[in-house]
């Protein structure tokens, strides 16, 4: 996958929508800055699936301490965290 901000954001959004759909929830209205756990579209297992997908899609293994709201709480945060680690 390309490390382009818009492309990353679109890919994360697409994955969130896909995971929510499996729970019969429409997550199309999720904003880039919305806090994903608080938005209610995904339960904990689905968020965990999102994180595992994120690690694999971007070849980006996370440490347990990386997994927090500041780093991964929103589409914006996930994008910034990835770009900072990969290009910083």
């Amino acid at each position: 996958m390309q490390l382009d901000r818009d492309t990353i954001k679109a890919a994360i959004r697409s994955k969130v929508i896909e995971l929510a759909k499996a729970l019969n929830i429409d997550a199309a209205a999720l904003g880039d800055a919305d806090i994903i756990p608080a938005a209610g579209y995904l339960d904990s297992s689905a968020i965990l699936e999102l994180i595992v997908w994120y690690e694999q899609a971007y070849d980006f293994p996370l440490r347990q301490e990386d997994i927090n709201i500041d780093n991964l709480g929103s589409i914006d945060a996930m994008t910034d965290f990835l770009l900072a680690r990969k290009t910083g």
């Binding site: 756990p37 965990l48 694999q56 927090n68 709201i69």
Partner: protein, 369 residues
Amino acid sequence: MPSPLYVPRVNNNDDSVRVVELRVKEGEFVKRGQILGAVETDKAVLDVPAERDGYVLKILGRSGETASVGSVLLWLGEIAGEQMAEQTPAALVVDTAGGTERPTAKAREMLRELDLAAAAIPVAGERLTVADIEAWLVTQRKPARAPGSDAPTASERTPSVPGEYRELSGEERGMFSTVLWHRDRAAPGYLEIEYDPAPWNDYAARYAEQNKLMLSPLLPLMAFRLVELAKASPPINATVVNERRYQYHQINLGFTVQAGQTLYLAVVNAAQELTAARFIDALGEVQRHAMAHKLRPSESSGATLAFSSMARWNVSRHIPILPPYTSLIVSHAAPNASGHAVLGASYDHRVLSGFDAAQILRALAQPPA
């Protein structure tokens, strides 16, 4: 599934025998225990019985010829014309050098069912026995099956409706072993209580907020509470092997993880040594490994207690199968329309009474003070 019948050892000093006779032909159906032939040394003659029902697929031994002990005498299969494995299963390679570790027939059957290598298992006496395998399984904490119980495949006939055989995947085989242990070894009981999930939800929400957690800690905290209860009451954390109680010295908490089509029991080892925060991290890590289908062996076996939730699928009640060598698996489910939820316990009645299981559930229904 085709299985080989090996040339047996007649005595400890002879690594080869002469095939005296073979009483069957390829394509013939034989019954378990039926004498298929005989082998001899200059000291004794030994009948060779069939270890299972099945068709003679291929005869490799020849009457009058010398055969090495442990080599394949013939192949048996469930269906006439079944294809044999290209290689001898590692589990069934018999050590022909020493001779004293040759498995008994029942041990050999158990090795085949569990796909184990005889060479890896310490032998207490002159031959490898079912007791040796069971003792080793406890140290490895792998599932076993009841000796003498017929696995369904050994006696079932192919259905008359057209179909085809497919080998079980590793995960399916694991589930198969688990279900067989539950059926053949445990004395499973199940009970449940209704409880108000609100205090737990509030407790988990406060914990998440205080610790800025990304994921709800509700289920990890409930699983950790189970660990604490077992720590306070060690008899919960035990099993029975050969009619003796086996008290575990550590608590390995198994937690079910659905990863796509695969259900894993991800294991947090030595959970009794962890704080709640460390336990949540450790569980999160094994859950991620499970979801990526990358569980390490130590993270996918050896559970001594277990916890399972189907709340996310809105299942309001489920009765889980006991993982091998556990006394208890707690089942968590979704609240019903009235707001109450059910906590269930599948338990091994050889280890725990219904009263014990109910006490655990009642304590688990409340978050820590």
